[in-house]
C-alpha cells in the first residue's frame, strides 16, 4: 500500500475520517504528535462522535485539546488524561467516556492489533481497578490480565522523514507510539517533516516500512 501519487493536502487527508470512527493519534504529549493533521481535523472536517486513541488528549486548547473543545470526541482511550485538565473535566461531567489503560498495555495492545495478535497476558494491572471486567489468568502463580488489541479506522502519525514510497524515520523521542499506530489502523496517514528520494533512507534504519503507510502529508 505504497503512496504512489506523492503527498496529499491535510484537508484531503482528514476527509478520510468519518463520524463515529476510531482515530489513533501519535505523540507523547505534543512531542511526535501530528499537529498539522490535527489542525486540519479541527478546521476542515465535520466528523464527530469520534473515539480517540492517544496517550493524552492534548493540552488545553492545543493538539487534541482543540478537538475536545469542539465536543467532537465521544470517547478517549489513553494512559494519561490528566495532562489535559479540560479532558478530566469533560470526563467528570459525563461529556466524554474515558477508558484508562496502563501505558505499557496501551502500547502493547496497539502493537497487537497491528500484529494480528488477538489477546495477550500481562501481569500489569492485575488486582487493580484497571483490571475490572477483564479476564484473569494465573500463570506460574502470578495473576495476569488478558488484554485485547486496540484497533482503529484511521491512524494519524508523525515522522521526521519519509521517502517517496512512504517509508518512515522518526527522530529522537518523537518516535513513541507512532510506529505502533501506523500498523493498527485500516488507513494510516503520516504527517512528515520532509520527503526524500526513494533510496535515501538507510534500509536498516527505516522504522516504519511503507507497507503500513497509505498517505503522506507534509507538516505545515
Amino acid at each position: 500500500m505504497a503512496t504512489a501519487n506523492g503527498p496529499i493536502e491535510p484537508e484531503e487527508a482528514v476527509s478520510l475520517i468519518r463520524s463515529g470512527d476510531t482515530v489513533m493519534v501519535g505523540g507523547f504529549g505534543l512531542v511526535g504528535a501530528p499537529l498539522t493533521l490535527i489542525d486540519a481535523l479541527v478546521e476542515h472536517s465535520d466528523a464527530d462522535e469520534l473515539t480517540i486513541v492517544s496517550n493524552n488528549i492534548g493540552e488545553p486548547g492545543r493538539g487534541l485539546g482543540k478537538l475536545l473543545r469542539q465536543g467532537r470526541i465521544k470517547r478517549g482511550i489513553s494512559s494519561f488524561f490528566t495532562s489535559n485538565p479540560e479532558a478530566v473535566a469533560a470526563v467528570n461531567a459525563g461529556e466524554i467516556q474515558a477508558t484508562l489503560v496502563p501505558q505499557g498495555t496501551f502500547a502493547e495492545a496497539i502493537r497487537a492489533a497491528g500484529a494480528g495478535i488477538a489477546g495477550f497476558l500481562t501481569p500489569v494491572g492485575a488486582g487493580t481497578l484497571l483490571a475490572e471486567g477483564k479476564e484473569e489468568h494465573v500463570v506460574d502463580g502470578v495473576p495476569h490480565v488478558l488484554e485485547r488489541p486496540i484497533y482503529a479506522d484511521v491512524a494519524l502519525v508523525n515522522a521526521a522523514r519519509a521517502d517517496e514510497l512512504g517509508n518512515l524515520w522518526y527522530r529522537r523521542t518523537a518516535r513513541n507510539f507512532n510506529p505502533l499506530m501506523a500498523t493498527a489502523a485500516r488507513v494510516t496517514i503520516a504527517e512528515v517533516g520532509e520527503i526524500v528520494s526513494t533510496g535515501e533512507l538507510e534500509p536498516e534504519s527505516i522504522h516504519t516500512p511503507h507497507l503500513y503507510v497509505d498517505e503522506l502529508v507534509l507538516s505545515r
Binding site: M1, A2, A4, R111, A113, G114, A115, G116, I117, D163, E164, L165, N167, T183, T198, G199, L201, P203, E204, I206, P209, H210, L211, Y212
Partner: protein, 218 residues
C-alpha cells in the same frame, strides 16, 4: 512437471497481482513470477526473513552473504527496501499487511483448506512460515499442478495431508484452470490453454461449481 507447465502456471498467477501490492512468494512456481510480470506491474516483494523490497538475483560480484530470501537463496534489495527482524516480519504477515501470498500446495480442499507443509507419517519437521502466510495474507493464491506425480488430484473434497490452515485459499491456479473460492465454495472461473471443462473435471477429485466469467487466457 515440465518447466513450460510451471511457467504457464506462474504466468497466470502473475496476472492476479495488481500494481503496488505487497506480495510474498513461496518457493517453486511462485518464484518464477518476478520474471513474468508485465512491465507496468510493479509489486513489492516481501520475504519473511526480514526484507521488503526484494530485487533480482545478484549478478556476479553483487553477492552479499548477509542478503538472502526465505528460501535461503541470495537476492538483492531495491531502492526503498527496508530490513526488519523476524517478529516484525511476521507481525506484517499475521496482521494482514501482506496483500498477496502465492504458494504451492500438496492439496487444496473445496472449502479452501490448504495442506502444503507435510506428508502424513513423515516429514512433519519443517513448517517455516507457511502457516503464518496462509492465515495472514489478505489473498492467498495457490499455484500447483492439477495432479500429483502419481496422478492423484490435488483438489480434494477434504485434505488428507496435515493441514496448513482451514479456509485459507482464495485462488487456485493449475495448468488447466483457475478456481476461485467464493462464499466457501470452489468455483471454476477460467480454462487455461486448450483445457476443457471435461479435462478439468477428470483431473479434479472433487465437485466444483462453474462460472466461466473470466476471459480465456491467451
Amino acid at each position: 512437471m515440465t518447466d513450460d507447465v510451471k511457467t504457464s502456471i506462474a504466468a497466470r498467477a502473475a496476472r492476479e497481482l495488481r500494481p503496488g501490492e505487497v506480495v510474498n512468494l513461496g518457493i517453486g512456481i511462485p518464484n518464477l513470477i518476478p520474471g513474468l510480470l508485465g512491465g507496468g506491474t510493479t509489486v513489492f516483494l516481501h520475504t519473511e526473513n526480514g526484507l521488503l523490497g526484494v530485487g533480482p538475483r545478484p549478478g556476479e560480484g553483487e553477492l552479499d552473504p548477509d542478503l538472502i530470501d526465505a528460501a535461503k537463496q541470495p537476492v538483492t534489495a531495491l531502492p526503498g527496501a527496508a530490513y526488519f527482524d523476524s517478529a516484525q516480519s511476521f507481525a506484517m504477515i499475521r496482521g494482514g499487511h501482506i496483500d498477496v501470498a502465492v504458494l504451492g500446495a500438496l492439496q487444496v480442499s473445496i472449502a479452501g483448506d490448504i495442506a502444503n507443509w507435510a506428508v502424513p507419517g513423515k516429514d512433519v519437521l519443517g513448517v517455516g512460515g507457511a502457516m503464518d502466510l496462509v492465515v495472514g495474507a489478505r489473498r492467498v493464491i495457490v499455484t500447483m499442478t492439477a495432479t500429483s506425480s502419481t496422478g492423484e488430484s490435488k483438489v480434494v473434497p477434504e485434505c488428507t495431508y496435515p493441514l496448513t490452515a482451514l479456509a485459507a485459499a482464495d485462488v487456485v491456479v493449475t495448468e488447466l484452470s483457475v478456481f476461485r473460492l467464493r462464499d466457501r465454495a470452489l468455483v471454476l472461473t477460467e480454462l487455461l490453454g486448450d483445457a476443457t471443462v471435461d479435462q478439468v473435471r477428470a483431473a479434479t477429485g472433487a465437485p466444483f461449481e462453474i462460472d466461466l466469467e473470466d476471459r480465456r487466457a491467451a
